[in-house]
Every structure is written in C-alpha cells, then in structure tokens.
C-alpha cells in the first residue's frame, strides 16, 4: 500500500526569473520504506519534502497520503493532518529549549490531547528505543547534538505518524552520532514498520537507505531500490 503518492507535482517560485523547484514528480512510497531523496543543492529535495509534509502548496499536481488528497484540506485541517499523520525531524534538531527531553517528546501528544498514562508509556517506550532513558530530565542544552537528534526522532514518532519526514537529519552530526541515529531509525523502521523519508547529501545515510531517489532540477532522474533493482 502506498503511504505517499504524488501525481505530476509541480512547484514554481515566481520571481524575476521563475524557478521550477519541483517539475512533474510522480512518486509512490510504500508503508515501511526507508527512503533517501538525494540530489545537489537546489535540486528540489526540501521543496518536495515540504509539499509532501503539507508545509507548502504545490503549484499543480496532487499529493495523496494514505490514499487521501491533502491539498484540498483547509489550513486548520492541514495542521491537524500534520499532527496526526506526519513526524518531522529537522536538520537543526529544533527541540524546545525550555522543556526537558521527556517534555519535548510528550509535547506533541499533549497537542493530540492524549491521556497522561498513554503519554508516559509512549515517552518511556520511545526514549528506550533511542537509548536516552537516563536523559529524560535533561534539557536540550545538556545534551549532545546526537542525543538531541535522537530526542527529535522520538518526538517525531510520539504521535504515531504514518511516516516520518527527515530533512538533512545528520547534517550537523559527527560520524558516531550519525551511525547511532541511523541504527535507531533503521531499528524503528523494522520494528514498527515505520516509513522514513530523508532528504540528504550524506553518503552514510544513502548507504543505509533501502531506496534512493535522485532529484535533479526538480525531476526524478533515478529511483533505486537496493533489494530490488532500479524501478525508475
């Protein structure tokens, strides 16, 4: 089953010179895929992720999540949609600095109005999964970059999303932290059959991805599934 599907997706930024950031992208991502979207700077990776994540509107084309089109949603519905369907991991971690690691993970479940017992259990489960049960009460400033990004992954999964979008998640991490993070995400991918979609330049991420989609000038120029040979 396709978790994400795009049909003839276009995004044009108007200006003195129009920029065709996404140019006719047709893409299907199935449940449980571990996908890296790669390409040079300006190839449209982030724009594509933003459109898939409902943070940006396409100029034309359609985005389907779980079989339902998202570009027909009203702004408030789109926010609810993101809250309940998509986990985000950002390049700069973007944790809330005044909250502890536990509170950061719990925060999104508070937005979902989940019961306290459910929140506590989920926080414990996820912090164990990312190996940070001893850092529950630490604030982001008391954590290393790698640890912060692991908390961010736990936060992304806390809402039980359909998939996780990660924009350059390892760009600010050293090799060891990157390796740890990828191990954790790969384990969650296998254990919870969670779908991960990365935009990345990082060869270490590309090496671990099971599907690699290459974008150039807003178009998919290569789509490789490592277990299965090229499909694009």
């Amino acid at each position: 089953m396709n978790v994400i599907e795009t049909r003839q997706l276009h995004k044009i930024y108007k200006g003195a010179v129009d920029v065709h950031a996404v140019n006719g992208v047709d893409l299907q991502i199935r449940q449980g895929e571990f996908t890296a979207i790669v390409g040079p700077s300006g190839s449209g990776k982030t724009t594509l992720l933003n459109i898939i994540g409902g943070l940006d509107q396409p100029t034309s084309g359609e985005v389907m999540v779980g079989g339902a089109s998202i570009h027909t949603l009203k702004p408030n519905e789109l926010i609810d949609f993101r809250l309940n369907n998509i986990g985000f991991v950002f390049q700069a971690y973007n944790l809330i600095p005044v909250l502890t690691a536990k509170e950061n993970v719990e925060f999104i479940m508070l937005l979902q109005k989940r019961a306290r017992s459910e929140r506590d259990a989920r926080v414990q489960e996820l912090m164990e999964a990312v190996g940070l049960t001893d850092k529950l009460n630490n604030r982001p400033s008391q954590l290393s970059g790698g640890q912060q990004q692991r908390v961010a992954v736990a936060r992304a999964l806390a809402s039980k999303p359909k998939f996780v979008l990660a924009d350059e998640p390892t760009a600010n991490l050293d090799s060891l932290s990157t390796s740890n993070l990828l191990d954790i995400m790969a384990r969650l991918n296998e254990k919870e059959n969670m779908t991960f979609v990365f935009s990345t330049h990082d060869q270490r991420v590309i090496d671990r991805a099971r599907r690699v989609i290459t974008l150039e000038d807003g178009q998919i120029v290569r789509d490789v599934r490592k277990e299965i040979e090229a499909v694009g």
């Binding site: 993101r82 809250l83 309940n84 985000f88 809330i96």
Partner: protein
C-alpha cells in the same frame, strides 16, 4: 501546557525579561507614587482650607452669598446656631459677621475682610487659636481687640527682627478699621492688635482680620444677626450627602445651604478630576511601557523563528501559537505589576504616615495653601484602576507579537538561521 511553556519561555533570556519586569515595576511605582504625592498635597490643601476657612457647610442669605450685600443678614443667628448644634451630625458651629473694609495705620492702609467672630465658637470650627503665633487669642478685657495675619503685620511695619534673627511684633499698635454698615453709612473704629496668626495661605494672612463679633455688631448695629453660619460636621462625607443639606435647607428655606464643594469649586474640580488625571498620567506611562514590551517580544519572536516554525510544522495550530505568545507577553507584564504596585503601596503608606518634607518649597506653596509636609495617599480604587490598566496594557501589548508570530511561514521559519 501553553501556560507552562509560556511561563518558562519568559525566563529564557533572564536579563532581558528582568529589564522589562523592572521597567513595568518602576513605571507603576513612580506613577502611583507621584499621583499619591500630588493627591496627598491636594487632600491636605483641601483639608486645611475646609478646617481653617470654609468649613464643611455654610449658611448665608442668598443676597450676601451672591452679591456680598452687607444688609443681607441672617435674623436670629444665635437661635439658628443653637438649633444647628442640636443635630447629631453637627460637631461645631460658628456664626460670623463679615464686612469688607480698610485697615489703616500711620504707615499705610490695606483692604481686608473683617471677620466678626465668637472666639469660643471659632476655636472649635476653624481652630484659629492654634494658628496664633504672637500675642494672645482675644484674652483679657481689652476694648476692640483685633487679630491680624503675619503677612499683614509685616506689611504695615509691625515686625521687628533682632540681631539674633528673632522675630517679634509691636502688638500694642492701634489700627483703624473703616467699613460700611448695613444702612449704607461708613463707620470707622479704632482697634488694638492683640495677636498675629499664620495660616497655610499667605493671601489669607494678608487679607483677613478677626475681631469679636459683639464689638463689630455694636458698631454695625446688627444685634444678634449674622452674615454667615459655618458648620463642622462629625464626618466630611456627611456634607457630601444631599440628605443632610436638604434637611438643613428645609429648616431654613430662605437661606442658602452649601457644602464645601459648592463654596470652593476649585477644590471640587481638583477632587473630582483626580480620577481623570490618574488615568491620563498612568496611560502615558503604560503607553511607554507598551512600546518596550512589544519591542522585547518582537525580539524574542525573531530569535525563536525556527522554533516557532517547528511548532507550527509539527501540529501546533494558529490559536495555540497566538495564545502562547499572548501569555508570554501578559506574564512578562503582570510579573512586574505586583512588584510595582506593592512597593508603591508600601511607600505610599510609609510616607502617608511620616510625610515628605517639602519646606524648601514652602514659600510658593503657602500662596496656594499647601503645607510644608506632604502626606502621600491614594484612594483604594486607584490601585484597582492601575491594576486594570496594567492588564489592558498587557493584552494590547500581547496582540502585536502574537500576530507577528502567526505570519510566519512554517516551512521557511523552520530553516531560518
């Protein structure tokens, strides 16, 4: 959740938040204190004028009150005085004969108002004996005694200053008072200065002289009749209640019964415009604070663009973002408010008891009836007005930053540097 995060957020940049909190506290403190100082001076001035000159209530013939006609006398003034004293609300009553005249000595003349008083009654109503600085207060059996103000005594050359700087007055001096009697004729009589007084108002000291009513009545041929009956009540508020005034008016339907607000409209104006002054003064302070608070919150939002972008990306809706920023701004403002108001309350209470020495400005103040010590005071509802104004300021200040936050595009904000 939003309350908790908003509260924690204001302590992110402690120094900046403390500066805003202190600005709010100091703004409120200084505003409230200055108002209490001004109010205290005015209250004291009003009290002095009421206690030493106009009393709580006065009764006149309308023609005397409006046209100062010497023959507009209250018949049976003595009986009226006795009747008024029977009322439980009335603490003291003084009846007076009043006439404008000329005060003459060998060294010159001065226009004055001659107050023919009953010394005993006057002592209870205007506390005149307490203001006698030299000589006596109508003691002994000297014929036609007169009490004059220090300013007048100085003006007519009665003042002597010895080498040590001690001031004394030549109190044996005889003076001539010339005035018109009710029949229209001019009467002149010799009086002997028995004492000087000093009030809080130098103008009064120069233009008012006091003689015994019986002496003046004999010269004017007015018998028991008087021009004015002044009342001091058990409580000033009684005079502001129309019930009492109407009751007295009913007993004396032909006379004008007026309270201190009618008698001194300037005092009434200042008294009644105080709430407006407070609101305007505090509004100016609040406006200045509002700009500071809004600027601080704009800076905070600018610094947290990426975080706000993240919050909106992961599913925090517009209302929640708006509320969070509003709460932060309100907290920032309201933390400073109790500090400022409570400090003001403490200082106002303290200086309300011990007073603030303003004797350096006594000369200028004396012309306006202002005492040399100011006792700070604010009406309890003034604190309520200030609190409400702070809350309104916090609400207004919170709208602009919250609106700015809503305008962020999450996709762009999350990647902001």
């Amino acid at each position: 959740m939003l309350i908790q995060i908003a509260w924690k957020n204001i302590w992110r940049n402690k120094l900046r938040s403390l500066v805003v909190i202190l600005a709010v506290a100091i703004g409120l403190l200084s505003g409230a204190f200055l108002m209490s100082f001004s109010y205290g001076i005015n209250q004291e001035r009003s009290r002095n004028i009421i206690e030493t000159k106009i009393s709580h209530v006065q009764i006149h013939q309308p023609e005397f009150r409006l046209e100062q006609k010497a023959n507009a006398l209250i018949a049976e003034g003595g009986q009226a005085t006795t009747d008024l004293l029977q009322r439980p609300e009335v603490k003291a009553v003084a009846s007076r004969l009043l006439v404008n005249g000329m005060f003459s000595t060998t060294k010159g003349a001065n226009g004055v108002q001659i107050n023919g008083i009953d010394p005993e009654q006057e002592a209870l109503v205007t506390k005149l004996p307490e203001r006698v600085t030299h000589g006596t207060y109508f003691e002994g059996k000297k014929r036609n005694p007169i009490l004059i103000g220090e300013s007048l005594a100085e003006k007519i050359g009665l003042q002597r200053v010895d080498e040590a700087g001690n001031v004394s007055y030549n109190l044996r001096k005889r003076v001539v008072l010339t005035f018109q009697i009710p029949g229209g004729e001019t009467q002149a009589a010799q009086f002997r200065i028995v004492g000087t007084f000093k009030s809080l108002n130098s103008k009064v000291d120069e233009t008012q002289v006091y003689v015994k009513r019986s002496d003046l009545a004999a010269l004017m041929g007015t018998g028991e009749k008087v021009h004015e009956i002044a009342l001091i009540l058990e409580d000033q508020e009684i005079s502001e209640d129309s019930t009492f005034l109407q009751s007295v008016q009913a007993t004396h339907p032909d006379l004008m019964v007026e309270n201190w607000k009618d008698l001194a409209p300037d005092l009434k104006l200042v008294d009644e415009s105080f709430a407006v002054s407070l609101t305007i003064f505090m509004s100016i302070i609040m406006l200045a604070l509002l700009f500071g608070i809004v600027n601080t919150m704009f800076m905070a939002i600018l610094e947290r663009t990426r975080e706000l972008g993240m919050l909106m990306s992961i599913g925090m809706n517009r209302i929640q973002v708006f509320l969070m920023i509003m709460l932060e701004t309100i907290f920032l403002t309201l933390v400073g408010a109790p500090i400022g108001i409570l400090t003001a309350l403490g200082l106002i209470s303290y200086f309300g008891n011990v007073g603030i020495d303003i004797s350096a400005f006594a000369e200028g103040g004396a012309a306006m009836g202002v005492a040399s010590t100011a006792y700070t005071y604010l009406e309890p509802n003034a604190y309520m007005v200030i609190t409400v104004m702070v809350f309104i300021t916090a609400l207004i200040a919170s709208i602009f930053p919250a609106r700015r936050a809503l305008k962020l595009n999450p996709a762009e904000a999350v990647r902001a540097i």
